[in-house]
């Protein structure tokens, strides 16, 4: 453990700075690496090439462009709510990152009910999206907002139920404990790779990733912003900086959910503890506070690759197919998974 005593204000400042980095860095990386470059490569294009080497400065150009644009509000819009809505969506991202652990001491909060908190807080963005759709005074926005609300609520259930399997197996809702349980665990006595829950909870992992895809309104589930029907859904009336906030929140959320998924299923920041002979949280060496975040970023990139790959490959589902898939397939599957996990947990 690192023994440094910082005054409360310095701790808070560090947490705010760290949180900002932990939200904006994944968002920028995902947008450049996956949205700009990988999507282009998957369509045999090159993507942005002019701004900086291989277009790496393109993001700054985009942000600069958005900042210059006029901040337009529809005449009939509910002005105050219209302005607040994108901020609510972005804030839900910031408060979501608070429980993600990046190392043995590199966390923002070590929260006992971390998983519960993360799942509860992730639905705050639904509010932002719903009031964005409502306050725009536009039928497309309203329809998009309603679709988003229906979809996010429908897919929150399988997500929660999938995580229950992990929580049963780890025996804790604390994210640090879940990381510890995975890296300290063993598979039938063999502890070479620990026991990442993607191996035992593969059903939950599949359900979780599908639900994440829907929560993020990424393409097979992007009915809320279906551009061929709804212009751009709840974002239709937003321009300039407010649109930028929605955009950042969308891709920051991809990063945060990839981080949460890697904590729950891929062993989080840890390496299998048996490699270095650590047998408790306190025994973990301090250098893991530097290596841990790097491991987390690696896992986040791998999972966002998966999310984006699916996004670029599939056409979108129809609204009724989307709802039927959540209620008739994902929820029963994850319920069965919970039952099996509970039975096996008691049996072994």
């Amino acid at each position: 453990m690192i023994a440094v005593d910082l005054p409360y204000w310095a701790q808070s400042l560090l947490r705010v700075l760290g949180g900002t980095v932990a939200v904006l860095l994944p968002a920028g990386t995902i947008v450049y690496l996956f949205l700009f470059k990988m999507m282009s490569f998957m369509q045999s294009r090159l993507g942005p090439m002019e701004a900086g080497p291989y277009g790496s400065m393109q993001l700054f150009a985009e942000v600069g462009k958005w900042l210059q644009k006029e901040d337009i509000q529809p005449a009939l819009a509910d002005k105050k709510i219209f302005k607040i809505a994108p901020l609510i969506v972005l804030v839900s991202t910031f408060i979501l990152v608070a429980v993600v652990p990046f190392g043995p001491d590199a966390y923002f909060t070590d929260f006992e009910a971390g998983v519960f908190y993360a799942l509860a807080v992730s639905s705050v963005s639904v509010l932002g999206i719903l009031i964005a759709g409502w306050s725009s005074a536009n039928k497309y926005s309203l329809l998009g907002g309603l679709r988003a609300a229906g979809q996010l609520i429908a897919y929150e259930l399988p997500m929660v139920l999938a995580v229950v399997g992990v929580v049963i197996q780890a025996g804790s809702m604390n994210m640090q404990q879940i990381v510890f349980a995975q890296n300290h665990g063993s598979i039938f006595g063999w502890d070479g790779v620990g026991n990442p829950y993607v191996l035992t909870q593969f059903v939950a992992f599949g359900v979780f990733m599908i639900a994440v895809q829907a929560e993020l309104t990424q393409t097979p589930f992007d009915m809320p912003i279906a551009e061929s029907e709804l212009v751009s859904g709840y974002m239709t009336e937003y321009s300039g900086f407010r649109f930028l906030i929605f955009f950042i929140a969308e891709f920051a959320n991809v990063g945060i959910f990839a981080l949460i998924a890697s904590v729950l299923f891929l062993g989080g920041w840890g390496v299998p503890f048996s490699w270095f002979g650590w047998d408790s949280m306190d025994a973990v060496d301090d250098w893991m506070n530097v290596v841990g975040p790097l491991i987390m970023i690696g896992k986040m990139l791998a999972l966002s690759f998966l999310i984006m790959w699916v996004r670029f490959s599939y056409p979108r589902l129809r609204e009724d197919q989307l709802q039927r898939f959540a209620w008739k397939v994902l929820i029963p599957v994850s319920l069965v998974n919970i039952m099996l996990t509970a039975i096996l947990k008691v049996a072994f």
């Binding site: 282009s40 490569f41 998957m42 045999s44 294009r45 790959w309 490959s313």
Partner: protein
Amino acid sequence: MGFLKDRYNEYGKGMSVTLNTFVQTVKPKKLGGGAATVQYPREKEAPPIRARGVIALREDNCTSCMLCARSCPDWCIYIEGHKELAPPRRAGGAPRKVNKLDRFDIDYALCMYCGICVEVCPFDALFWSPEYEYSEPRIADLLHDKTKLGEWMETVPEAPELEAGAEKKKK
């Protein structure tokens, strides 16, 4: 296995198409990879030899008959001419009357590259050239006069081989 194969055809094929394209694009050029994109100002793609890039004028062949100007759908060809007396073909004959071209302009700001003018010209005075890099900062500069149209003649490709016995089109 039929079940798995059906699931692969439903869900796996699309994913593999995008992944294969991704790998193909990322692969170094030496190994036959690379994107379909051509980075235009730095790399150039040779246009097909019969591409409709620009219309060239062979002034000697033009009789200012106005067929091209009249058949042009958007009236972008401007022709002015006058009659002149030319020396007779045979000694002692009467002097010939010929049409002398004063102005032959094509406004490429209007031209829609239909090629009807090239088709209707009965005297082989108009030709297609594959040249395409003649954009201008001022739109008025897209009006090419007969000198400029004549310069394009250098870029006109040789006419393709004709059938045996056919009369060859003069360039």
